[in-house]
C-alpha cells in the first residue's frame, strides 16, 4: 500500500486516484474476494468486486448497516464505531468507518482476520488523512 500522504499535498484528482488504489490494495490481499468504498448515502465511490456480485444492492445494505452501527455506538455512549466483521459459512464481510464512507472487504473463510483488520485500519488512516474535514458551511 502506498505511503501515507497529507491531504494538503494532494489535489482532487490525486485523491480520487489514491482512493481507487486503496480499495484495490485491500481487494488484492490474500484470500480477499473484493473490496469497495461506499459513501454514507450508499453511493459506490470505488469498487473492485467480482462481476457476479450486484454492487448497488450490496452498497446500499453496507452503508445502511454502517450508519446503523455508527448511530448505535453513539447512542450507547460507547464511542465512535470503528470496525466490524460478519462471518458466514462461505466467507466474511468486513466493514470499517472512514471520514468519507465505509470500506468493505469480502473475504474467504480461511482469510487471516488480523491481516485484513490491519489492512482496513491502514486504509481508513490513508483515506482520513487525504480528506480534511469539509468546510463548516451547509450544502445548501
Amino acid at each position: 500500500m502506498s505511503r501515507l500522504r497529507l491531504g494538503l499535498e494532494m489535489d482532487g484528482s490525486s485523491r480520487g486516484r489514491q482512493v481507487h488504489d486503496i480499495v484495490k490494495s485491500v481487494a488484492h490481499l490474500s484470500a480477499v474476494r473484493g473490496a469497495l468504498l461506499v459513501s454514507p448515502d450508499g453511493f459506490v465511490i470505488a469498487a473492485e468486486v467480482p462481476p457476479t456480485i450486484a454492487l448497488e444492492p450490496l452498497a446500499a445494505l453496507a452503508a445502511t448497516l454502517g450508519r446503523d452501527l455508527e448511530v448505535g455506538a453513539s447512542k450507547l455512549g460507547g464511542g465512535a464505531f470503528q470496525t466490524a466483521l460478519f462471518s458466514a459459512d462461505d466467507g466474511t464481510l468486513y466493514l470499517a468507518a472512514s471520514r468519507i464512507g465505509f470500506v468493505v472487504a469480502l473475504a474467504e473463510p480461511q482469510a487471516n482476520f488480523q491481516a485484513i483488520r490491519a489492512a482496513l485500519e491502514e486504509a481508513v488512516t490513508l483515506i482520513d488523512s487525504g480528506w480534511a474535514p469539509a468546510p463548516a458551511g451547509s450544502a445548501t
Binding site: S39, G42, I53, P57, D68, A139
Partner: protein, 270 residues
C-alpha cells in the same frame, strides 16, 4: 485582420456563463469521487442560480447524508418529494434515514412506495429484504434462559429469538438494545446473502470503548458487550461458552415442553 486576430486570440476555454446545470453536473461528479466539500460548494452556487432545481436539492440531501447531518438531509429529501411524490431516490434516502432512527415502519413504507413506482430498483429491494422479519414465536414456546449469567468482565448480554424478540437480557435494562441488535443482524444477514457468503454465524463490532461479540443461527442470536481491550480469541471463547450454555437451556426447555405435551396426551387417551 481583426477577424483573424480574433480567431488567433480566442481563449482556449469557452467563457460562456456558468449554468446551474453545469455546476450541478460537476458537483455530482465530485460527489461520486468522494470529494464532498468541493461538491457542496458547487451545489450552493448551482442552487443560487436555480433554487427550484430538484437535482440540486437531491445532491444537497446526499451531501448532508455523507456528512452525517441527518436533519438537513431529511428536509432536502422532503423538499424533493413535495414536488415529485414518487421520486425513487428521495424515497430511498428518507427510508435509510428512518431506519437509522429506528423507525422501521417509516422505512418500510418509503421503500414500498419507491418500489411501487419503480419495481426495478435493486437498492430499495435489497433494503426491504433486509427488513424482513419472522413471525413472533408464541409465548409458551419462548424459553426464559434464566440460568444464563453475565460474564464478570461484560457490560451486557442479550439473547434474541428467531423473530428478533428479546428472550433474555443481563442486566434487564440492556433489553432496550435488542431492537437495534436485531436490525443490525438482519441487515448484516442480507448483505452476506447479497455477497454470496451464506447465513450470518458470528460478528464482532468494535467501537472506541467496547467490542461486541455475536453468534447467531435461525433460532437464536446471542450478543455480549466486552471491554474494547478484550483479545479477539478471548471474546470468541466467551461467546462460544455462552452459546453452549444457552443451547443447553433451550434443549432442557424443549424437553420439558415435549414431556408436558406427552403427559397431556396420555391423560386424554386414558
Amino acid at each position: 485582420m481583426t477577424a483573424v486576430l480574433g480567431r488567433l486570440w480566442r481563449p482556449a476555454v469557452s467563457r460562456r456563463p456558468e449554468t446551474a446545470r453545469d455546476l450541478l453536473g460537476q458537483a455530482d461528479r465530485l460527489r461520486r469521487a468522494g470529494r464532498f466539500g468541493e461538491a457542496a460548494q458547487l451545489v450552493v452556487r448551482g442552487l443560487s442560480l436555480d433554487p427550484a432545481s430538484i437535482t440540486g436539492h437531491l445532491l444537497a440531501a446526499y451531501l448532508h447524508v455523507a456528512r452525517r447531518t441527518v436533519e438537513p438531509a431529511k428536509q432536502e429529501f422532503r423538499w424533493v418529494l413535495e414536488r415529485d411524490p414518487s421520486h425513487p431516490r428521495a424515497l430511498l434516502g428518507l427510508a435509510r434515514i428512518a431506519l437509522e432512527e429506528g423507525d422501521l415502519e417509516g422505512g418500510r413504507e418509503a421503500l414500498v412506495r419507491a418500489l411501487r413506482a419503480y419495481p426495478d430498483f435493486p437498492e430499495a429491494q435489497a433494503l426491504l429484504d433486509g427488513l424482513a422479519t419472522r413471525q413472533p414465536t408464541p409465548p409458551p414456546a419462548r424459553p426464559r434462559l434464566d440460568r444464563l449469567r453475565l460474564p464478570a468482565s461484560a457490560r451486557a448480554l442479550l439473547a434474541l429469538g428467531g423473530d428478533g424478540a428479546v428472550i433474555a437480557a443481563r442486566p434487564e435494562a440492556a433489553a432496550g438494545g435488542g431492537r437495534r441488535i436485531a436490525r443490525a443482524a438482519r441487515l448484516a444477514a442480507a448483505a452476506l446473502k447479497r455477497a454470496g457468503l451464506g447465513a450470518l454465524r458470528r460478528a464482532i463490532v468494535e467501537d472506541a470503548e467496547e467490542a461486541h461479540f455475536l453468534r447467531a443461527d435461525a433460532t437464536l442470536t446471542l450478543a455480549v458487550a466486552l471491554p474494547r481491550t478484550t483479545h479477539v480469541t478471548q471474546g470468541l471463547l466467551e461467546i462460544n461458552r455462552l452459546w453452549a450454555a444457552a443451547q443447553h437451556e433451550l434443549a432442557v426447555a424443549r424437553d420439558a415442553v415435549a414431556g408436558a405435551t406427552a403427559s397431556a396426551s396420555a391423560r386424554r387417551v386414558s
